[in-house]
């Protein structure tokens, strides 16, 4: 049994009404405990909808989703599911509810019924993990875009769920901030065994995952390890995606008759391949 099992999942907004919109059109996938999965796909392909289904905010219209064996369609499992899957939503403002940063981070664990002393500890730790500890007494609405994003991530880290789904967590971050978030995510995954599902439009982040799942128009298009998926540049481009510049450079060199003999995932790999080619 996988940690998350999705079987022939369909989801429709405003089902039965005139403006019904089928967002997920029969989709199946398995996510194992401890995996780091990147979920990619064009705007509107259903990634955020799926994320909200993973943590039980929405329930499938048909098909089934099981989280750690719990059927998410069953209302009595709802609280349990939320304890297992934490979600950092696409827009941090939706998530920042309290007047002070640290209260905001405490909100999730409070809802899970964690004792106050432990909450204190978790909040400090989570804020430090995202480098926002010195802002703990600030008002969230006064923070810059990137700072808000990091507070939202801290809020979910503090819940210490088995699985964390991050919906475009680095969209508003500077390059170092993005690296820091990626390091934080990888550390949570590696050292704490937390299952990570990262939704992103940044291909240079996706290449750092263990497995990439590409969605297209409410369905799964392809999946595999990053190197295999990103070797298929044509397929990705056809479905509105891309590859990192380093990968693109090697790909276009190959098209011009210069085969570097590999698919680089980052700048260092690309430089190494060119160096070897020259020798």
């Amino acid at each position: 049994m996988s940690f998350i099992e999705v079987r022939d999942l369909k989801y429709t907004y405003n089902a039965g009404e005139e403006d019904a919109h089928e967002a997920l059109k029969g989709l199946s996938m398995d996510i194992e405990e401890g995996e780091f999965v990147a979920l990619l796909g064009h705007n509107g392909c259903g990634k955020s909808t799926l994320a909200k289904i993973f943590n039980g905010m929405y329930v499938p219209l048909s098909g089934s989703v099981k989280v750690d064996g719990l059927d998410t369609s069953d209302e009595k499992n709802q609280i349990q599911v939320r304890r297992k899957v934490g979600l950092v939503q696409q827009n941090p403002d939706n998530q920042l509810v309290a007047g002070i940063v640290e209260e905001d981070v405490a909100f999730g664990p409070e809802n899970l019924g964690i004792p106050p002393l432990e909450i204190r500890e978790r909040v400090d730790e989570a804020l430090k993990a995202v480098n926002m500890y010195e802002y703990r007494e600030h008002a969230p609405f006064k923070l810059s875009g990137g700072q808000k994003q990091r507070v939202a991530i801290a809020g979910v880290i503090a819940m210490r769920t088995k699985c964390i789904v991050l919906d475009e967590p680095t969209a508003m971050l500077d390059p170092r901030g993005r690296e820091e978030v990626m390091e934080t995510i990888k550390k949570l995954n590696r050292e704490h065994g937390i299952t990570i599902i990262l939704i992103t439009h940044y291909m240079d982040e996706a290449v750092q995952s263990g497995r990439v799942i590409v969605m297209d128009d409410g369905k799964v298009l392809t999946e595999g390890n990053p190197r295999d998926v990103f070797s298929n540049v044509e397929l990705l481009k056809r479905h509105k995606l891309d590859v990192p510049q380093a990968t693109e450079l090697a790909y276009k060199l190959k098209n011009a008759g210069i085969d570097l003999g590999g698919v680089p995932m980052n700048t260092l790999e690309c430089i190494k391949l060119i160096e070897d080619y020259i020798k």
């Binding site: 064009h42 008002a139 923070l143 810059s144 990137g146 475009e168 969209a171 450079l249 210069i258």
Partner: protein
Amino acid sequence: MTESNVIETKNLSFTYGIGTPFEKHAVKDVSLTIKQGEFLGIIGHTGSGKSTFIQMLNGLIKPTSGTILLNGKDIWAEPKKIRNVRFKVGMVFQYPEYQLFEETVIKDICFGPMNQGLSEADALKRAKEAAFFVGLPENLLEKSPFELSGGEKRRAAIAGVIAMDPDVLILDEPTAGLDPMGRDLLLTQIYNYHKERKNTVLLVSHSMEDIGRVADRVLVMNKGEKAMLESTRDVFSKGYELRDMGLKIPQVTHIMQKLKLMGLPVDEGTLRVEDALRQLIPLLKKGEQK
């Protein structure tokens, strides 16, 4: 002040929460000129003051000290006319999805031009062009803006500002949240629009690759101050300094700099993949023949 400067700032500063314990000097003493018709990239770590700075340029917030000249005139000389400044200097906010509030997407896009005094028919025409321009499919125009996906909302908000056809277009992270193709398309379209209209564009972005592709010059903000304002090439030749400020250089520039250090005769100021290919293909082909 020469004719070719569209915006000039003199010792511009902004402090949030003056007199409170959270007083924050967000922008400190920034003096610079922006040339008519240039494409200026703005980069800087989160919280470096980029959004605060550009919001002063269109009169949305008033500087704590310093002045802003728009075509040579102090924009705060007549505070009652500040609205006109906002028509001339159009701004797409960071998280622009919060600017959407009308019943339908198309009404939302029409809001700006209608406010400028255009007739409903003219506003609708402009709105449709703008929607097409940002790649928003026709079938979404009658939907409620709240029913759009993240990337679709972003496009709708950008269309709303472009429909006003401003002289200076300021975009705060417009491509964040767009899928790669949407990002590419929007960037190309903004670039083409700029070339065609010869208007001034200010683009705030955390994507060094995007800035490298389109900007003539780059303003680097660091802790509220102007750290650099130079040609894109010169800015991205300072990788170490940028790194210290939480920034990076485009991947392709990084690769070319390293190849140059290895002794290959390439341009270390290369900013686009196409330009790298133009140099590398003949070089590596030659290597093959040896």
